[in-house]
Amino acid sequence: MVVSDFAVEAKNLEKKFGAFTAVNRINFQVKKGEIFGFLGPNGAGKSTTIRMLCGILSPTSGEGHVGGFDITNEQNRIKEHIGYMSQKFSFYSDLTVEENIDFYSGVYNVPDRKERIEYILEKARMKDYRNMLTRNLSGGWKQRLALICAILHKPRIIFLDEPTSGVDPITRNTFWGIIKDLASRGITVFVTTHYMDEAENCDRMALIYKGNIIAMGTPTEMKTKFMKSDVLDISVPDSEDWLDKLSALSSVKETALFGTGIHATTLDSKEAIHAIEKLFKEKDVKDYSVKKIDPSLEDVFVALIEDYDREHGG
């Protein structure tokens, strides 16, 4: 065990499956009590990284520490101090809510089990469901139960792998409320998601793509430091028809549909706005607007991934 300010850290962490590199020598640090977002599209290497950190997958090379313990030879110590919630519905659907909680609390050797179970059922407002078979719970409650099972033993660090996949927006909001509450009590939260809008909830985040971390920082840093281009929000009738015409302009880099409008990236917003408005006037379009906006995280990620693909010939 090493004493460190970081709850989680990875140094040149690498995982290969045969010839395929799932995680390519990544480096990052997560501070204690931080909500750290690990973001990226499906198949980017998020789950592989999380599984290495939780001690259920051995890295090919590099090192990592979780709670001060080494991920290659102190997995058993790590497991006592972390909570983990996987993407899958990961408890026993033929057992009741209480039987599931009872099982996990026993496995984690939770002290004063009975009281702890009562407390947590109360806290999660699940007392009425205690005798219900978990297969009959709705999606949101299942998610809540999975989280309960992950924090029963008061772990210092929790890993949440796509905790909100397949859950409605309202439940997602409540869920993030709970996560923030945990973090406020000093628990480090390491969360993966491919919902880019959720990333705003994180204190810091890393964007992983094709096994590489391509950007890391706070949400503000992400939008300023990593976003070299400006974003224009364009609203115009029949926006689909305009995508190609707009991206053909020399001052516009990329265009993408965004809601009913178009988001365009550009290196020089003034010149681009001028060129776009000129084009609309020429074509006799009346009902349009073009304005520079602050990029959303989604804009940032899309731009970063496209830059990466361009540079690496992907």
């Binding site: 939780c54 001690g55 996987s86 899958k88 057992l95 496995v107």
Partner: protein, 377 residues
Amino acid sequence: MFERIKFILIKEFLQILRDPKMRAILFLSPLLQIVIYGYAANTDIQNIPTAAFDLDNTKESRELIRRFKYSKYFNIKYYVYDEGREDELIDKTKVNTVIRINRGFGRELVGNKSANLQIVVDGTDSNTANIILGYADAIVQRYASEAFDERMQIYFKGGEVAYPKVDLRDRSWFNVNLISRNYYIPGVIALTITIMSLVLTSMAIVREKEVGTMEQLMVTPISPLELILGKLAPFGIIAIFQVTLLTAVGVFWFKIPMNGSVSLLFIATCVYLLTSLGVGLFISTISSTQQEAVLSTFLFFFPASLLSGFMFPIMNMPKVIQYVTYLNPLRYYIVILRGIFLKGVGIKILWPQILILLIMGTAIITLSSLWFKKRLV
């Protein structure tokens, strides 16, 4: 450590006993098996449907047919008088055996000559045919020997005579009345707990992989050893319960003898379970779905049961196959069970089988556990 195993155990039992289908598989199917073998699968041959074709029709020929009739083995359903009728009866499976006595049988016998008769048996089932011929032979031999005695008496006019004679007194030990049920039921017990422990163990582990709970378990402090023990113990306990149930039904309902020690039966069962639970564990490591697990189980179970001596005596198998059966744990367990139930032999006789099972079981469980551990992460 035991604390965690206890929680896994409780969880397994909750899951198993909650499912009504599972309860039926665990308790009704073994009972069904033993009832079927106890009643239906009876290889004892009695009341063989027989036709008598007596062309001689003398006192001697009638006496011989009477002896067939009053043995418990043959049931003379038809008396045939026309040539060809007996073939028809066999073709239509109306009878299994035809006794044909040609004209002159009585005359030859009285005239101190060799008298002939013919037994025709339906050989479709070679095993049954052999047994029937054995019974027929015994009846005819006895008749011949008594006829010989009678002729001798007449010849010497009732005086004291001495002549050489061999008298076979046969006696079947351990199953005096040769009731096939006594032979099969110990085997049924062995087969039942084998298939149950194989299927249930492998399915219970593979289900966790399939549903995704295995991954959740792996991030808890449960060690692979605790997981293995917690997963195997419930099915071991269930198997022991099934042995108890089946033994009780066998002894009290089907009246099969229990000549040996009940505690040795349970000790041997525990040792045997090491092998079958170990194979179940191994199957779980090579299967990723429950269907795969069930199919792999049968891949092991069928050869194991065919080469166990349950149905087909091992001594009748070709030498090479006989050597193969030495690798089959079920073979030893069946020998142990039959030894305990029928022969009443104890550890003094059965220790080699128990020792082999112990070695095999330890090896299988250790290797499977190591393999299981390797495949987990």
